[in-house]
């Protein structure tokens, strides 16, 4: 498990640091994506998450879900072009899962990428992510990640 300023970064994931997204490669060529610990900290208590419908086509860099906290709203940007294969209805019903379990229960969508190999090139592994997040958090003036009660690694 990678750690930067109390923010957890699991070693088995890939990261898109500028958009604060993690990626887990699944069997069968699909990818699972979600928000990082840093993203959930920046958002605060998340109250809504609305992933797009299954079957929707999505372009790299565009939104696959909308996330809302008290006064903030933002997109979950897809690091892959492709089609939404599955969405996590649990986070629609209880968006606080994104704060509680950002890397496990809090996956947002699974995507069938058009070009897995090509789009994956823009992602980084945990070691590089740690270095990039150190700068990112400095820039955002974020001292450390905040974990709510019941937070799951």
């Amino acid at each position: 498990m990678g750690l930067v300023r109390n923010c957890l970064l699991p070693s088995d994931l890939l990261y898109d640091v500028p958009t604060n997204i993690w990626v887990r490669e699944l069997e069968g060529g699909t990818v699972e994506i979600g928000m990082t610990d840093i993203a959930q900290t920046l958002a605060g208590s998340i109250i809504h998450c609305r992933p797009k419908k299954v079957g929707k086509k999505v372009k790299k860099g565009k939104s696959v879900a909308t996330v809302e906290s008290g006064k903030w709203v933002g997109p979950v940007r897809s690091p892959f072009s492709g089609k939404i294969a599955e969405r996590n209805d649990a986070v629609t019903e209880d968006a606080a899962i994104l704060n509680r379990s950002p890397y496990r229960e809090g996956w947002i969508v699974r995507i069938a990428p058009d070009d897995l190999g090509g789009d994956r090139k823009g992602l980084v592994g945990v070691e590089e992510a740690i270095t990039l997040y150190e700068d990112y958090m400095q820039e955002k003036d974020l001292a450390s990640c905040i974990h709510c009660a019941g937070f799951e690694e």
């Binding site: 909308t66 809302e68 006064k71 903030w72 709203v73 933002g74």
Partner: protein, 240 residues
């Protein structure tokens, strides 16, 4: 032109850049009706709630604009322009100045030009902008969250946990809402979106927060599609 304040910040920014932004404010069609001159009486400051809590003065805005002090103008445009609560108590001015309206125009110029300070100031309020532009209601009950209102103590926890129950206790059915201040019809939402789009307000949002713009466009255009409208029709209206 010397600055009213010799220690004005942003000395490194070219005067031409400051002047161009200053001119955008003074060329606004509302500008001739908001500033007539200043007695420096301070009545506006005495009436101003923001002046009580911040290093902020509506009088300074009137003074700086009247003196055409572009250096201090640029400092105000980047800093204290966001400290105003836009309550317009300052319209008690005996010269009929309206410092609050000067600030309205300045904020629009800051946003239209995508100033980094404007982006930063508005970043924390993206959901409020989203609500206004997608529903026409500004504040939603579910904004009452413990981490946003720590000063409410336990009260905000109780309210947040049972929000739907509290809302159902309000007599008008149109207010039994959690995500909106009151019920808004889809027709109203679509009309609003058309107004934002046709008047260029969406572009303004794109300048300030590209992510928010993307969400707004997607959510509203999906709603349009559901109602059988073709978004290209709007472009045709624009061309006409």
């Amino acid at each position: 032109m010397l600055s009213l304040y010799t220690d004005a910040k942003y000395q490194d920014v070219m005067v031409e850049e400051k002047q161009a932004l200053f001119d955008q404010v003074t060329q606004d069609m509302r500008y001739p009706d908001v500033l007539y001159g200043c007695y420096e009486c301070g009545i506006c400051v005495a009436a101003c709630p923001s002046a009580r809590f911040y290093d902020f003065s509506p009088r300074v805005f009137a003074q700086v604009m009247a003196r055409e002090d572009v250096h201090t103008f640029y400092e105000l445009l980047n800093d204290s322009v966001w400290d105003c609560s836009q309550c317009f108590s300052c319209t008690c001015c005996p010269r009929q100045n309206n410092p609050g309206a000067i600030i309205t125009i300045m904020r629009e110029v800051a946003v239209n030009n995508g100033l980094a300070s404007a982006k930063e100031a508005l970043q924390a309020y993206s959901r409020i902008i989203f609500k206004v532009m997608s529903t026409g209601t500004q504040v939603s009950p579910d904004m009452l969250q413990p981490d946003f209102f720590p000063d409410w103590g336990q009260d905000v926890r109780d309210v947040a946990e049972n929000l739907d129950v509290w809302r159902r206790a309000i007599p008008p059915e149109t207010m039994h809402t959690v995500e909106l201040a009151w019920d808004v019809s889809e027709k109203t939402r679509l009309e609003l979106y058309m107004i934002w789009k046709l008047t260029g307000n969406l572009e303004m949002i794109e300048n300030i927060d590209e992510g928010l713009f993307m969400i707004l466009e997607e959510v509203m255009e999906e709603l349009l599609e559901e109602h059988g409208y073709d978004i290209d029709d709007f472009d045709n209206i624009l061309e006409d």
